[in-house]
């Protein structure tokens, strides 16, 4: 690792921040002390609805999903997070309110996570992280804006096509049930879409 003489458990995160804005040794040390590794086995919960979201999670390895269960018991996946992505219910995390969402592991997953109090303390001790997280939030915001635009103006088939384009690394990693839930359709209907596409592509 070019930016550090020794590798530590929080190294992937230090590298991630470093790519956005270079950190000085004191700031690297802060990251080391504030973020703690945690392993989630497949199917384990990182957050259950009704609880307050205690951690802001950075995925080092594996895959988490954030979803909502509606009145009828149907799952709706809002976000996947794989290597070098962030996941948390920001609303619950920041307002300290009960979460409406669940987060669980689709694979055995290692995260680096920080508590609310430690994150606030991090902002106080090193305002550079205000900027880093501002940039992070900008990026997440843009993605969500595009997603809302798509949900409004595209058919399920178009949304699937653009999922294929935007997340090619996920299509062989997730089951169709997961993808269908992310797209906002039933697994049965996604299957029909795929059938339709396969037929058209072959002719």
């Amino acid at each position: 690792m070019e930016n550090s003489s020794q590798t530590t458990t929080a190294q992937p995160l230090v590298d991630f921040f470093f790519k956005l804005i270079p950190l000085n040794p004191a700031e690297k040390e802060l990251v080391q002390s504030k973020f703690h590794p945690h392993l989630f086995l497949k199917k384990q919960f990182a957050l259950q609805h009704g609880d307050v979201c205690e951690y802001f999670n950075f995925v080092v390895r594996g895959c988490l999903r954030l979803y909502k269960v509606d009145d009828k018991g149907v799952y709706h996946i809002l976000q996947f997070a794989t290597e070098n992505h962030w996941i948390s219910d920001l609303s619950s995390f920041h307002k300290r309110t009960k979460s409406a969402f669940d987060i669980d592991a689709l694979e055995d997953t290692v995260v680096l996570r920080i508590t609310y109090d430690d994150l606030i303390d991090l902002y106080v001790k090193a305002p550079k992280f205000d900027r880093i997280f501002r940039v992070l939030l900008e990026n997440h915001f843009m993605q969500q804006q595009d997603r809302i635009g798509q949900l409004f103006s595209s058919t399920a088939e178009e949304r699937y096509q653009s999922f294929l384009e935007n997340y090619p690394h996920l299509i062989n990693r997730l089951s169709q049930v997961q993808i269908a839930s992310y797209l906002g359709v039933t697994p049965e209907f996604l299957s029909r879409i795929r059938g339709r596409i396969a037929k058209n592509d072959s002719r």
Copy 2:
């Protein structure tokens, strides 16, 4: 205004920031110098798709809307911005790319706006604004997350009901065409929903 001995054109914005985090005189001065007032008459564009979004806008008075026009020419409103709210295509603004959205005025509207270069300069000169905009983005992000959750798990009628609860000040200010577009339904169908609700409420 308790936090300033004299009122200036950017005063509403200084007040807005002040409520989040107190500003010192130098920072107030920076806001005055970087944000400039602009008037949009009803129906005027603040951004047209295909252009780069040049400004980050704070609405002082009036109402703007951000929307997407799909392939079939249908409008989809992603956001309204009234007094003390922010509006811009952040994606285009930050990446300096062509925007897929339009922003125009539903009423005569006064904004305070800042260019990309000036905003970057503001962050450099006063890192406190990194924190202010981080908090702003957190709030926008949470709202959007809830909206996506709703689009997935609620019917049009439920979304209309929750629009009534969350934005009571907007219902007499916007036409049903605008509200329908925001909810993601046709004006005809919103009319039927309202008919249904009126009938149920009276019994």
